[in-house]
Symmetry: C2
Subunit: 132 residues, 2 copies
DNA sequence: TTATCATAGATAAGTAAAGTCTACAATCGA
DNA sequence: TCGATTGTAGACTTTACTTATCTATGATAA
């Protein structure tokens, strides 16, 4: 069990946008160069962020991807959910009569992690880095 | 990103052993029947639990798998680590000069989950179920 | 209307999990 | 000691998911 590399990329792209270009669109080409990954692959990942409503896409000359207006509120969890999906990390595969207590315990723990990821925004991290 | 089904099986096996057979060995055959999974697959998973020191294996007639003496202390995290390994869920793939702050945030959240899984023992859950 | 840029679909390669088979080693009981 | 029982280990196949590329299409600004 691992977070995918796409999630890693997504978090870095978001941090870059917040720090360097919170208002103007940046093309995939530029973003791909910054991260040293392929354009075509990155564009798929960015499309997921668009569909999740975290960023905006602008077609045409001088277009690219731009943050939405409420970008200060975007949390780590928002980005991770956009890429990895929102289904639980653990699903019991057995048919006990009632609900599975094992699953409950693991999901409880999972919620702890999600809470921490929800409390931390990309914007907050950006400020922290500029402070350094 | 998901917990593997092996982890699901492992947690259920451990709970079964704690509840039904804390002192005598149970063969793979019996365990596989209880969980309705294949023997060969289950045996691989059980070997991991043995190597992690969570259970004991006994060869020969009337052998099988038996809990260790300190089984009351085994946590969910112990079982999960035995199956999934102990490496972090998130690894930044970029070469920033110093350490990656994004990774730090995610690993922090991960530690929250691990703490919750560490605080809950299989034995505790077994008592809870018997109480029902 | 043309150059620029995102979107979507098909597809292939790489990797990890799930599952099976077979030979082997250890142990118990007679 | 012999043979039945049980776990161990390795090779192997299948399946599913992630990563990655290519190409055609759609939208927009200059």
């Amino acid at each position: 069990m691992k977070f995918s590399q796409a999630t890693d990329n997504a978090l870095h792209v978001m941090l870059y946008l917040v720090m360097e270009a919170p208002d103007k669109p940046v093309s995939v080409q530029v973003l791909a160069e910054k991260l040293s990954v392929s354009q075509t692959y990155l564009s798929k990942m960015l499309t997921k962020l668009v569909k999740a409503g975290l960023i905006h896409s602008v077609s045409g000359a001088n277009g690219g991807y731009r943050l939405k207006r409420n970008y200060e509120e975007i949390s780590f969890l928002d980005v991770i959910h956009a890429i990895e999906g929102t289904t639980s990390l653990f699903e019991c595969s057995f048919n006990h009569g009632q609900q599975c207590l094992i699953q409950q315990v693991v999901m409880d723990a999972e919620r702890q992690m999600e809470q921490a990821l929800k409390n931390k925004t990309i914007y907050e991290l950006a400020k922290q880095m500029k402070g350094v």
